[in-house]
Point group: C7
Chain length 94, copies 7
């Protein structure tokens, strides 16, 4: 089953903690906070959003970091995912 | 009896829980929360909304996911429906 | 006596409850809440509103649904009416 | 003595209650609330307001209805007047 | 010593109460409130303000009325003055 | 050591109280409040700010007045300075 | 491992306190507050942000000052970094 995000939205899935820790990126502020590196699962088409042209620059498989309280959580086929706007994505991990 | 939404509005009807669960999509955060997969019942014409051109991309029969607190609830012929803006629709289920 | 709304405003009058119930539309959330189907009494000319061109699409006699807390209530010749912006009208009943 | 409103502003003066009641228009919500039918006393020139071109459509002598809490009250030569933006005027009484 | 206001700002000085009372204009709401008729002392050059072209229409010596809580108070050479944006000026007294 | 402000920002330094008092300008509202005449130390390049073209009109050495709570305080080489946007500067002292 | 910021975002790393003190810049308001001079580590590509063209003017290695509460903190390879928008950067230290 597939979710196709609309407009400038992106579906992301949290990367497992051990894997994130290994990568060396942790969103700080409290040690017990869950790391927030996400893998991009689906990317919307972009286009006109609130009258502004948005070009999508992230792509499936990218590892990204988002703001802490961004997006709407959705459970798909038992897996927790988050739907964010591309503008909530701060950086791509390379 | 038919409701014709104005501008960028879309009328959606919640998909029965058992059917949603089978599809594997649940808006998480609390297990007892009602799933929020909706079927699109009617689609507005789009056009200029707050000065921005909006093109409608969802269509009757689409299964969609919306933000948790989006829209106005309306009861039509005994059935609960919700009127949302297309920009409140996060993704289409395929 | 006639009220001519300015800009994108529309004067609407609540349709009697029994008539609304018959039509099958009730704005839900609480059973005792008054239904909010309105008849359009007067329509403003549209035009530039906050710098955006607004074209009026509702017309006298239309039955419409508005957001719950929209508009300013006015009593005209003993009848309660409400003045709303066209953008507060969610859908037209057909 | 004359006050010349700037931009899209309009000076209005409340119409006496008995006269308003006769006209049949009362802003409802509480019976003891003062009716809010106003006579237009002076009209600003319109023009660019916050970057948007505003054309004045009300004129001296018009009877109008405004939002309940709109405008700034001013006492001129002993008479209470209110200075509102034209966009605060909901409708013209004909 | 002279203060030159920037952009769409205007420096105004309150007109003495007796003089204001004589002119017949009092900003009402409470009798003990200070009248708020001001004399224009200096006028900014106008021009682009937040991306919108602003043309100055008030001039030195004009008597004006402003919104009650507009502007920043400044004491210059012992005299209290107020710096307001032209858009805070409601009307010119003629 | 030099700080180069970005965009429409300006670095200003408070003028010593005795010197300000002599100049006759005091931001009133409370006698014990510090006067807020500032000397312009560095001026940003202006240009596009939030999509609007900003032209810098203040220059090094200007004496200016700003809104009371504008800007970010910075200590540079032991001296307290404030970084403000040009739009927070109300007037230039001549 | 590298983080590539999106749009107008910039990754910055706090400069060690002793080094900052030596440079003579301290964000004041409380002595015990951490100084906030940052080194620019990575710079986003700029481009269209909310419909406005943004050109990046800071570059890797620049020393900059940001607003006190700007940005999202991230820990990368054990080092605390902050992701800010370029518009949150007040000035460049030269």
């Amino acid at each position: 089953m597939i979710l196709k995000p609309l407009a400038d939205r992106v579906i992301v899935k949290q990367v497992a903690a051990e894997e994130t820790t290994k990568s060396g990126i942790i969103l700080s502020s409290a040690a017990q906070e869950k790391p927030q590196v996400f893998e991009v699962i689906e990317v919307g088409p972009g286009g006109l959003v609130d009258g502004n042209e948005v070009k999508m620059v992230v792509k499936k498989g990218d590892r990204v970091i988002t703001g802490k309280y961004s997006g709407t959580e959705v459970k798909i086929d038992g897996e927790e995912m988050t739907i964010v706007r591309q503008s909530d994505i701060l950086a791509v991990v390379e």
